[in-house]
Amino acid sequence: MDPLYMANSLFRRRRFEDCVQVCTEILEANPYDQAAWFLKLRSLTEQTYVDEVDMDEEGIAEAFLDDTAIADVARPGTSLKGPPGTTSRGLSQGIRPVSQSGRPLSGFVRPGTQGGRPGTMEQALRTARTAMTARPVTSASGRHVRLGTASMLTEPGGPFVDVSKLNMSKYSQRPALAKALFEYLFHHENNVRAALDLAALATEACQFGDWWWKIQLGKCYYRLGMYRDAESQFKSSLKHFSTIDMFLYLGKVYVKLDQPLSALDYYKRGLEKFPNNTSLLIAIARIHEGLNDLDSAVEYYRQVLKYDSTCVEAIACIGTHHFYNDQPEIALRFYRRLLQVGVYNAELFTNLGLCCFYAQQYDMAISCLLRGLQLSPNDDNTADVWYNIGHITLAVGSVSLAYQCFKLALTSNNSHAEAYNNLGVIEWRRGRGEQAMTCFQSSASISPHLYQPHYNLAAASEKTGNLHSSYSCVKKSLEVFPEHLDSAELMKQLQQHFAAL
């Protein structure tokens, strides 16, 4: 069989490593075989191809050294950063737990839903930078670096294309080759600057008339953190032609620039061109969720489900929404659907167990939770499952079991702030004030975004007569959750105390 045909067939069947091998053999025989070279380029690229449209994580450096932010204190409802507005239409923190950025927990973990914007540098460096939830220093490093390096290391005979010796202007004149080379440089080599050079020359070669090159230019600028340039490239390519990707890229740029409303605007314009496109709908829903407008987010997720009934993100988010809106039986339906779709992991079984329990389907509840415990792949997940089991045992009425569960959660994950807090409450009830205070303090120092340990610490200090520390704690609690009534009440009491002094 003709080896090139063979390689082509392998490429089509997405057996890229075999394809590369065949191409290498052809190239060894004839180093100037452009077709083989092209095919090898493509298959190498395909191996490391990442859909750039997907959300990417925000590095610590970007969160801190943010030079694109327009205002420190944005108007409520116009920023994804900072504390959510007090006039949020979502549920209060008392009902739906929050992530570290003070936003309600999403039903679907994606980059950016957990981190948010840390308050201090120390917090940013400290918070859960584990192998599982690693938060890169910058987005320029992190995943892209790892991917690029991985591909580099696997090559025995040195790099396939020596970037430093490439004659960019020669390749830019040949559109087909240039495009493949660009993707190789961008995805496989992860050499964004070289890719940018090539893209700039190529778009010049076609008299700035090719929308594809403009998108690539925008992608390069985005990767380099030049968001305004990326924005202008995407906009300019949108004049020639419109694809779904363009709107998604633009939305991504605006999210980076912290202009969620502009992003929403472009997504909606995209929907006019491509009605009912699920990617656009999901993007809109995500932005609404980021703005703490959960009702609208769920509305869009529902629309997604109309056209794509297997969208895991939409199902999970709607399920979570129903669960925290006192409709566990509906949430149960959604989670069951996830099981049908093929999701089979600890989180899902834990959620199923919780929904069963709260919807009074007691025969299923505990077995689901135990299954979740079995399936949990790492300590962080195990801690969460133990924590939830602790809640169930509390509801069943067994405080000592709950105590053990929370302690097990802490054993699995030493920085499980919620478990520390609940453990503290149980200790307080048992009359061991010192231990309780220690637990509250640990919880508060691990997760300053939770209001419960602050309030508990304040209440306990108030009981023990330590009014000053009680005051400082209740102040923190009110900072995190200004509408918390008990904190406000305690604050008032303390102020009266101090006034009387």
Binding site: R126, R129, T130, A131, E329, Q361, Y362, I366, N414, E434
Partner: protein
């Protein structure tokens, strides 16, 4: 309370002579009857009607900068200070205050003392009473005294109406001693005259009794009574100047409606208890209601008609302090600091708690805006205005207000006169532009509480599940119990494992309770590892402890592998740190266990497990 026991007049009126305000007072005379109320001094403030408008305004208006402000709760914006005399030496209550145009010539010369008339006895109330032809010059106000009715005409005492005497229904135990015994033993109350009571007191002494009888045999029995409340009932027209009847309540528990001309009793009502406040609506010739708040903590309502007994009875929680009628409802203030509104039939419309005890009440009827509200003076020196149950305005006065009167005075339609406990007189004009808004400004349950809770609807799925539960209740229960015991076992096993191998970051053993927390800082390849150890026992220090680590030796290099800890003082947290270098550049990360161990033991006391972050070595190279 200060009393003025001088024979004649209240002095220290710094006003000009021609004052349309009449202050008359009299000292307590020695009357036979022992009144149940303290010797009040009487003040009658009469109102002058103004017809002309050519002159400047007689009431000195003090324009304050906050005139234009909206009427807030502070109350300053709604009122103009017309007059304030802190040394007016008026000792009176609302019932003795009335507003009247004395000369009926519409002439108004500003607030000043007009005349004084000594009264023979302490007055209990004063009312403006119009009788005879409407608008005739001799229409005069009429104060009543305890057993007399005094009518002033030409600004002088004019007519003294003797209180009706009653010989009927009085029994006199003259016939036989057993009668008095039955009287005392029987539960039925028999009204006795003072003389009969005296006689009964003499029952031990037969001689004295005989002489008592001999002395008083020919003098007819008469029971004297005192007036406890007065009100005015319009005869046949509702106009301001229409002829009106006097309604009088007595200590005996009677209410009389008197004829405006002849002062004969037109109608008598019987109450089970003496009335303290009267409130009257309607017209005598058409239909009327009389509400009386009585000393037995009840409000009785009479209707015109043949019946002399009360038609409705409203029991109160406490003694009434004031009674006003707004439209069809009765607003009553009680001694338990409450203000409540009842319908005529006794249904409570609303009730609210006042911040202090109530001293007096007055109806604020602002005719130009047809606004009706209740003015309430409180012991905390506030005068509050309630429209329905909503506080619409609040005035703070320097002293406790004991007398209130609202009505037309001078050229103003709405003037509030206040007499304080110290005897000061305040006159405040209600601004014409003011409109009180009945907003709920009272502290209490927030408005959000009234909102309907967003309880999700009962879904179809829920109903289906409920049906399933009903059908399989016993199996579900047994499965749940089985699962629960399985869960219990699993928890206990896991906990036992964690405790025996000391995996927990907290110890709970009685001899040594420690807490450990470990943090990693830095981006790599060199991290700083901080271990925080705290002795959580309340009093027991911990000694001879060490920190040691366990990790993949090929991956991490720890600078201080063994840290000796000093004596751990209770409740103080200690930080120990060490450097950790990641020697791997493949992006691997593992966990590091931190142990706290004690001398001579093979198992650690506590353990902290640290998930190391991915080292950022690559960008450096």
């Amino acid at each position: 309370m200060r009393f003025c026991n001088g024979a004649a007049t209240v002095t220290s009126f710094p006003w000009e002579p021609a004052i349309p305000i009449n202050i008359a007072s009299s000292a307590a005379g020695g009357d036979v009857c022992a009144e149940p109320f303290p010797p009040f001094l009487f003040v009658c403030v009469f109102w002058r009607r103004e017809k002309m408008s050519a002159r400047t305004h007689p009431v000195s208006r003090q324009r304050s900068p906050d005139d234009q402000e909206n009427s807030g709760i502070s109350g300053a914006g709604a009122w103009l200070d017309a007059h304030y005399d802190p040394v007016a030496s008026l000792y009176t209550f609302s019932s003795c205050m009335a507003l009247e145009d004395l000369n009926r010539d519409g002439d108004h010369k500003g607030p000043s003392l007009s005349f004084e008339t000594p009264l023979l006895d302490l007055p209990h109330g004063g009312q403006r009473l119009l009788h005879g032809q409407p608008l005739t010059p001799e229409l005069q106000p009429l104060p009543w005294q305890q057993a007399r009715c005094l009518r002033l005409q030409e600004l002088r005492p004019y007519f003294n109406l003797p209180y009706p005497t009653f010989s009927k229904s009085l029994s006199f135990p003259i016939l036989h001693i057993p009668v008095s015994v039955t009287l005392r033993e029987g539960n039925k109350e028999v009204p006795l005259s003072v003389r009969s009571l005296k006689y009964l007191q003499l029952e031990d002494d037969a001689e004295l009794q005989a002489s008592f009888l001999a002395t008083f045999r020919h003098i007819p029995l008469r029971r004297k009574s005192v007036i406890t409340a007065m009100a005015i009932l319009k005869k046949s027209h509702t106009e301001d100047d229409a002829v009106s009847c006097l309604v009088v309540a007595s200590e005996n528990g009677d209410i009389y409606v008197l004829d405006p001309e002849a002062f004969t009793v037109l109608k008598q009502f019987l109450l089970p208890s003496p009335a303290v406040f009267l409130s009257v609506t309607g017209l005598h010739d058409v239909d009327y209601h009389i509400s009386a708040a009585c000393r037995d903590n009840c409000i009785y309502t009479f209707k015109s008609g043949a019946s002399t007994t009360p038609r409705y009875k409203i029991p109160l929680a406490s003694q009434p302090c004031g009674l006003q009628r707004i439209n069809k409802d009765v607003v009553v203030g009680c001694m338990d600091d409450s203000l409540a509104s009842y319908s005529v039939k006794g249904r409570r419309q609303w009730s609210l708690r006042l911040p202090a005890s109530l001293t007096c009440m007055e109806l604020l009827h602002h005719r130009p805006r047809s606004f009706k509200a209740v003015v309430v003076a409180l012991q905390n020196r506030e005068v509050r205005i309630y429209k329905d149950k909503f506080l619409v305005n609040c005035i703070t006065v320097d002293d406790v207000v004991v007398g209130l009167k609202f009505g037309p005075f001078g050229r103003e339609d709405g003037v509030l006169l206040m007499v304080t406990q110290g005897g000061a007189l305040l006159v405040k004009i209600l601004k014409r532009s003011v409109s009180f808004e009945a907003k709920d400004l009272t502290p209490g349950p927030p408005a959000a509480q009234l909102d309907k809770l967003n309880i999700p609807k009962r879904t179809r799925v829920y109903v289906e599940q409920m049906a399933r539960e009903k059908a399989n209740a016993s199996t579900m229960h047994s499965v749940f119990q089985q699962d629960l015991s399985r869960l219990r076992l699993q928890i206990t096993q896991a906990y036992a494992k964690a405790v025996t191998s000391r995996l927990t970051p907290l110890t709970a053993s009685p001899d040594c309770s420690l807490k450990i927390a470990a943090q990693v800082q830095g981006l790599g390849p060199i991290f700083r590892l901080t271990v925080t150890v705290q002795n959580t026992s309340p009093s027991k220090p911990v000694t001879n402890c060490y920190i040691t680590f366990r990790c993949d030796e090929g991956l991490y290099r720890i600078t201080r592998k063994f840290i000796q800890m000093p004596l751990l003082v209770p409740t103080v947290s200690y930080n120990f740190d060490t450097m950790v270098q990641c020697t791997d550049d493949m992006g691997r990360a593992e966990e590091i266990s931190v142990y706290v161990v004690q001398n001579h033991t093979s198992t650690p006391l506590i353990t902290a497990v640290l998930n190391m972050p991915v080292s950022e070595t690559i960008i450096v190279t």
